[in-house]
């Protein structure tokens, strides 16, 4: 059982989803416990695997399905799960977010998608299966299949919302398919030159055959890269994200928003570092010269668009696009600290986005709107919710001791060391924008100031607020506790940041990354 822990990570949600589909037809109520239990089981598998990874000498756990072990068969004959420290960390993030959202999901799912609970939880668990699989797999084609598993479940989950959601999902389907297909094509180009699909095997062949200058490999890199960039909603390709996430049901957006883009960034880091290799990705391609500038454009545009939004969910969606820019930039400034920052930011961004979306879900439930104008005086009504929400917000801004501060710190250090001033400036700029965004929100929610600037007090008395608006009225506990849990995680990850960074450093130590100036 223990040695198969890595397989259990996927087996639990997979069988859980089928159980939801089969048993849920008779009794809808059974789906929620099944979902929570299978997520808990999966989380156990993840933690056990992390323990194994840290305990092992090479800091990786290699698990080959079907018993095609490396001692008897060539590498790549079977499909390998290759969990290094980075992979298992991101997997744990996926599972943790999935677990929290599963607890959270009870009431919103009942209310927003009535009579569809079995379908919802089936797709929900399969989404987790797909995302966790993406983080662990060591096979380039298996990655494509798992990306499609995650994508198709995502389409289904989003389209359960309104008609508007269906229209948004269609765009997502088209762009998502283009992205995944380009990735598949890129894998084909890799395969035609290397003859293998195993990620470790590809890296070995690239080094052994000196394929760095091969134009096929260059094009493969571009195709894979563009495919992943589309999937992660990097700025010019972000079109699918805001509409899809705003119109999706609450639980869907709180599951997809923290995970999908981050997991795709993880895929990019993985492709860059361990599939194509540091030398190929950074030295033989022009991406190092081009990408930081694209990142600059991306962050500025996304931040400005976020500033223009008047609705929490839509604003958060644009913030995600900006955050994607941070992380992509952290990779492509080609620096040790930048990569630490990128990886740590993947983790912390997942936590804080989760926090914000869970909070937004609660606000939507209680205030019936997420439009800015409907939020006045909410703090006195639901202080705990708002505390949780703003811990996420502070983390996005980057205030200590939240985790967002530390990840941003590493990103800025990376920019400074590699002398990418444009990246640093744009980080500062977007931090400013986020300060404006969130303090505008705080003003509205906490101080109950009307649009005209007239101070209405703390929501007491009859200063513009009706009685029922000032009553203490928190959301249901099954939703509040996950939110507070997520907020605690944001703080804990921030406080124990050094431990996580140490793990990331162990992972990065095997790559030859510049720690000093220039490249």
């Amino acid at each position: 059982m223990m040695e198969n822990a890595i397989a259990w990570i996927l087996i639990f949600p997979l069988f859980g989803s089928v159980a939801c589909a089969l048993l849920g037809m008779g009794n809808k109520k059974i789906c929620y416990p099944i979902a929570v239990l299978s997520m808990a089981g999966s989380l156990w598998g993840g933690i056990e695997t992390l323990r194994q990874v840290i305990a092992s000498e090479v800091h990786t756990v290699s698990y080959i399905f079907g018993g095609w072990t490396l001692d008897k068969y060539p590498r790549g004959v079977g499909i390998e799960f290759h969990a290094d420290i980075l992979g298992i960390l991101i997997t744990l993030v996926v599972l943790g977010v999935g677990f929290i959202v599963a607890i959270y999901s009870k009431l919103p799912v009942q209310d927003e998608t009535p009579n569809k609970e079995p379908l919802f939880y089936t797709l929900f668990l399969l989404q987790i299966t797909g995302l966790a699989g993406i983080c662990l797999t060591g096979d380039a084609f298996n990655l494509y299949v798992l990306i499609e598993v995650a994508a198709l479940t995502g389409y289904g989950l989003i389209a359960m919302g309104s008609n508007r959601a269906a229209a948004a999902t269609f765009n997502y389907v088209i762009l998502g398919t283009i992205g995944a297909s380009l990735y598949l094509l890129g894998v084909g180009y890799i395969y035609i030159k290397t003859g293998t699909l195993n990620m470790v095997g590809i890296q070995d062949v690239i080094v052994a055959n000196g394929l760095a200058d091969s134009s096929t490999m260059q094009v493969a890199f571009v195709l894979v890269g563009i495919g992943i960039l589309i999937k992660m909603a990097f700025f010019p390709f972000h079109a699918w994200l805001p509409n899809a996430y705003c119109n999706a049901p609450t639980v869907t957006s709180s599951l997809l928003a923290p995970l999908v883009t981050k997991v795709m960034i993880y895929v990019m880091i993985r492709m860059v570092l361990s599939v194509f290799g540091v030398e190929f990705s950074f030295e033989s391609t022009m991406w190092v010269d081009v990408m930081p500038w694209l990142v600059v454009v991306a962050i500025i545009c996304a931040a400005v668009m976020a500033l223009a939004q008047r609705e929490i969910k839509r604003m958060l969606a644009y913030l995600i696009v900006a955050e994607v820019g941070y992380m992509v930039g952290g990779v492509w400034i080609y620096n040790y600290y930048g990569l630490i920052g990128s990886i740590f930011h993947v983790i912390s961004d997942a936590c804080m986005t989760l926090c914000l979306f869970l909070g937004a879900g609660l606000i939507l439930r209680k205030a019936k709107t997420t439009h800015f104008d409907g939020l006045r005086g909410l703090f006195s009504k639901m202080p705990l919710t708002m505390t949780g929400f703003f811990i996420g917000g502070f983390s996005i801004i980057g205030l200590p001791p939240t985790c967002g501060f530390f990840s941003k710190w590493y990103l800025i250090t990376g920019g400074m060391v590699s002398q990418r001033w444009e990246y640093m400036v744009v980080l500062m700029f977007s931090t400013m924008v986020m300060v404006v965004l969130f303090f505008r929100l705080i003003e509205r929610i906490h101080l109950a100031v009307s649009e005209s600037g007239e101070n209405l007090g703390h929501g007491h008395g009859d200063l513009g607020l009706a009685k029922e608006q000032t009553r203490f009225d928190e959301g249901p506990l099954s939703m509040l506790i996950p939110l507070l849990l997520a907020a605690t995680v944001v703080l804990v990850v921030g406080i124990y940041n050094q431990d996580i960074v140490n793990l990331i450093e162990i992972f990065l130590s095997e790559f030859n990354l510049p720690k000093g100036e220039g490249h």
Binding site: Y155, N163, G188, Y191, Q309, T369
Partner: protein, 293 residues
């Protein structure tokens, strides 16, 4: 490198497969991006995916090789049976042997075929899901032309805006919905929609006939967020957005509200009933509506 005659020669004669696969891929990609009809986009998507499959299959081709199924002389069971009959020794029972390198050349590479089986399956799954989305979109908007859908969504959001603004007890200043929208619109589609909006006059008659449908869905998007001050609110709301024709819009949004407010979590059938009254109320009115842009 492109002017080099040998390259062209090679591309057209020896690597026709690779060349055609690129052409098909581009046809499919162009269909996905530029076509206005959703079903057409899906056909483009399928062509795109098939082109990639063609590429993979081309990779697996081996000159002078047969299909990747063992010939009778290599068949683990075929040889097993014949040998077993002849001498019945122990080696014969374990018929299958590792093929030698020379024989390996005789079979096509099975791996790309396997990968493409999976890719075809993924393709049909995506197609089925996207078709379901088309149906759903048609139910909601009465069309599967992308520009018309975008226009309807825009109008709906314009209409639902007042009811959101009124959520706050006092009248807060209305905001620019236009800028929001242009920012949030999907990139791919916005390009087509701007072009289309010029060709609007032709479609105006159609809009008039479908406007009732749009209205009903507009009411639907309002109904999940009921608010006490609803009836008062619509009038303030219409005042806020000056570009909007007043009578029809305010009537249509205010009508369904009392009903939908009474049951906030009404199921679609109930909602449809509420909207049908709205349809009745506005069906007779002529619509002098022009898109804002």
């Amino acid at each position: 490198m492109f002017e080099d005659g040998t390259i062209i020669n090679e591309l057209f004669i020896e690597r026709l497969n690779y060349f055609i696969y690129v052409i098909l891929l581009l046809i499919g990609l162009h269909g996905m991006i530029a076509k206005n009809n959703l079903i057409k986009k899906l056909i483009g998507m399928s062509i795109f995916q098939t082109a990639i499959i063609l590429f993979y299959v081309s990779v697996g081709v081996k000159e002078g090789a047969t299909i990747p199924i063992y010939l009778p002389e290599h068949d683990p069971h075929g040889s097993h049976a014949s040998h077993g009959d002849e001498n019945g020794t122990d080696e014969a029972v374990h018929g299958p042997v590792v093929l030698e390198a020379g024989m390996v050349k005789g079979y096509a590479n099975p791996l790309p075929h396997v990968l493409m089986l999976t890719a075809i399956v993924v393709g049909v799954a995506t197609l089925g899901l996207a078709l379901a989305l088309c149906l759903r979109i048609y139910q909601g908007y009465g069309t599967i032309e992308e520009d018309e859908i975008l226009a309807k969504i825009e109008r709906q959001e314009m209409r639902s805006k007042p009811s959101i603004i009124v959520k706050s007890a006092d009248s807060s200043k209305s905001k620019t919905s236009g800028s929001d929208k242009s920012v949030s619109k999907p990139k791919v589609s916005s390009s087509t929609s701007t072009k289309r909006s010029k060709a609007r006059p032709k479609a105006k008659a159609k809009i008039a006939s479908t406007a009732t449908k749009a209205k009903t869905s507009g009411a639907k998007s309002v109904s999940p967020k009921p608010k006490p001050a609803a009836s008062k609110s619509t009038t303030t709301g219409t005042k806020k957005s000056p570009a909007k024709p007043k009578t029809a819009a305010s009537k249509s949004t205010s009508k369904p509200k009392p009903k939908s407010r009474s049951k906030p979590k009404a199921k679609p059938p109930a909602r449809a009933k509420a909207t049908s009254t709205a349809k009745k109320a506005t069906a007779s009115k002529p619509k002098p509506r022009t898109p804002k842009k």
